[in-house]
């Protein structure tokens, strides 16, 4: 399978990355080289093989049903959460107007 410039523009749109015409032209052969190379995975007989879900056997834990059981990941951190926001107003993240 190979991608066209239109395909790459569409993927870039899905990934929310603006790309100039020039960048798209550059990216098309690069992506196609990589995609052509990964095609070889199609040779592998995977009959009856389950896709890997966890690399090391591990059980999923449940945390205690307690508010702020771990203060580091608990609540009450509004100012810390907003500290690095490009725009923070009235205790919220500021973004451009979404609805006209």
């Amino acid at each position: 399978m190979s991608v066209t410039k239109q395909d790459v523009a569409k993927i870039a749109g899905l990934a929310r990355i603006n790309m100039s015409e020039e960048e798209l032209d550059h990216m098309v052969p690069e992506l196609n080289n990589i995609l052509e190379w990964v095609e070889q995975l199609g040779e592998v007989d995977v009959e009856g093989v389950e896709p890997m879900a966890a690399v090391i056997e591990n059980t999923l834990r449940l945390r205690a049903d307690e508010v702020d059981a771990d203060p580091k990941t608990g609540g009450g951190k509004r100012d810390a959460v907003l500290a690095n926001a490009p725009v923070a107003e009235h205790g919220f993240f500021g973004v451009p107007k979404v609805i006209e």
């Binding site: 399978m1 929310r16 990589i34 890997m52 690399v55 926001a85």
Partner: protein
């Protein structure tokens, strides 16, 4: 005094401070000076001499009071700039996180501070840990301290932990943290003549580590000896409830159990690692490694890992897929860069921010990841890759019936000049062909320095062990270290 101190490793510093041969403050001051003098390497994005001094003073005060000292007491280290450090800029070497000052500390870095270590600064790396040469950083290339005999060309320190490898090899840090997603600890360690171990997936908490490919990312130490790696890994590792994939297991005393006597151990030599394009010097060092391990009492056995060839292409589907999902968080809203052209809406802000904030290699991988996860292609690419990954892991499982640890080269070639492999992303990816299989299987793997090329560049050997068996990896590494007597250091030019 100062130069003597910077020639010491983790164990020598810790033991020397504990014995009162020198103070932690003297050590920190010496390394702070060495770091300041080595700007030409571009190994650090920011330096934090005050952090190193404060930790040193705390250690000296503890010692004066006769209190027990931690496993890393008095050792100033470099911190890869992928670990969130409270109040200290954390960028993942990207523009999109420039200026980001975490409001919390990563578990691994906190564990190291708790063990008495201090921080010399945040180390440069490939942007979002994506790269094998440390040429994708927004903050410029890192130079290896090594140069080819008779040449002044800047060489690659490897990647993505290239700031870490460069700093440790240059003796401006006794040790550094690294992270390994598909070879990012082992390949730079091999390129610079130092040791580096990636433990079993889940040993070190990922909490507070900027995520690249979460099912592969694993932190580990980089230092100049196997003993130093064992000490530092012990300080970094441990169960962390804040990471859902953290291993709920005790951390063994790796340092205390080190044993280079390999009698009764079987060392597997995978025939599939004898690949076309591997340099002659690498193959010779592999032979040398076999001889050393045999001399240490091990039995050498031939093994087969039939799906080796498919590990790298599977990795280049899985890692970008996970990256495209992980990097969706950089949207110009919560932290980091925001690009907001006049009258632009929210969607435009996302797309402009990500265009300006991500480098070319990051964009390439996010696009590949988005593509292989998109409707209609998911089964053909992503699911197929995850099935191949299961087969790569099964290869190792079956090999453990015949051997206890695997010996292979770390990389197919020695280091190369910066700028020499930039034309084609694929050629760069091939650097990790020997490193990626162990990553896909989540296994502990280490690179130790072995020999030198004729033109004076270091070569590394790789050891891969069973899940949770870092000890066998470290033991075999120690056996090699004792026999190689590798003590080559780059000549100072910076």
């Amino acid at each position: 005094m100062s130069e003597e101190l910077t020639s010491l490793g983790v164990k020598a510093i810790r033991d020397g401070v504990a014995a009162g041969d020198f103070t932690a403050r003297e050590v920190a001051e010496s390394f702070n000076t060495a770091v300041a003098d080595a700007a030409a390497l571009n190994a650090f994005i920011v330096t934090t001499p005050d952090h190193a001094l404060a930790a040193a003073d705390a250690t000296d005060a503890k010692r004066a009071k006769g209190e027990e000292l931690g496993a890393m007491a008095g050792v100033p280290i470099g911190m890869k700039d992928l670990f969130a450090t409270h109040g200290v800029q954390t960028t993942a070497a990207s523009h999109i996180l420039e200026g980001f000052k975490p409001q919390y500390e990563s578990t691994v870095s906190q564990n190291l501070w708790d063990a008495g270590a201090g921080m010399l600064g945040k180390l440069n790396l490939d942007q979002f840990a994506m790269g094998s040469s440390n040429e994708t950083s927004y903050f410029g290339n890192v130079s290896s301290p090594w140069r080819k005999a008779g040449s002044n060309a800047a060489m690659s320190p490897g990647g993505s932990s290239g700031g870490s490898s460069s700093a440790v090899a240059a003796r401006i840090a006794p040790a550094a943290t690294g992270t390994d997603t598909g070879g990012s600890i082992r390949q730079p360690a091999a390129f610079t003549g130092i040791c580096g171990i990636k433990p079993t997936y889940g040993r070190c908490s990922r909490w507070g580590v900027v995520a690249f490919a979460s099912s592969l990312d694993q932190a580990g130490p980089m230092a100049r000896s196997v003993e130093d790696c064992a000490i530092m890994l012990g300080a970094m590792a441990g169960f962390d409830p804040k990471d859902a994939t953290s291993l709920q297991m005790d951390v063994p005393d790796w340092e205390g159990a080190l044993n280079a006597d390999l009698k009764g151990k079987r060392v597997g030599i995978p025939k599939e690692y004898r690949m076309e394009g591997t340099s002659e010097a690498i193959l010779e060092s592999w032979e040398q490694g076999k001889a050393w391990l045999k001399d240490a009492g091990a039995q050498i056995v031939d093994i087969s890992l039939p799906h080796t060839k498919y590990a790298l292409p599977a990795y280049y589907i899985i890692a970008p897929a996970e990256a495209s999902s992980n990097l969706a968080r950089y949207d110009g809203v919560r932290y980091g860069l925001r690009e907001l052209p006049e009258n632009a809406g929210l969607q435009d802000m996302y797309a402009e921010t990500r265009e300006a904030g991500f480098g070319d290699e990051v964009k390439r991988r996010v696009l590949i990841g988005t593509y292989v996860l998109s409707a209609g292609f998911y089964d053909a690419y992503y699911n197929q890759a995850q099935k191949v990954r299961a087969l790569v892991a099964r290869d190792f499982e079956q090999a453990w019936a015949h051997c206890d640890v695997i010996l292979a080269p770390t990389t197919p070639t020695p280091s190369f000049p910066l700028g020499s492999l930039n034309e084609d992303p694929l050629t760069m990816y091939l650097n990790d062909v020997f490193a990626v299989p162990a990553s896909l299987a989540g296994l502990p793997a280490m690179s130790v320095p072995a020999t030198m090329t004729e033109d004076g560049l270091p070569l590394g050997l790789q050891l891969v062990g069973k899940a949770f068996d870092e000890q066998s990896v470290l033991d075999a590494g120690l056996a090699i270290q004792q026999r190689s007597g590798f003590d080559h250091a780059p000549e100072k030019w910076w």
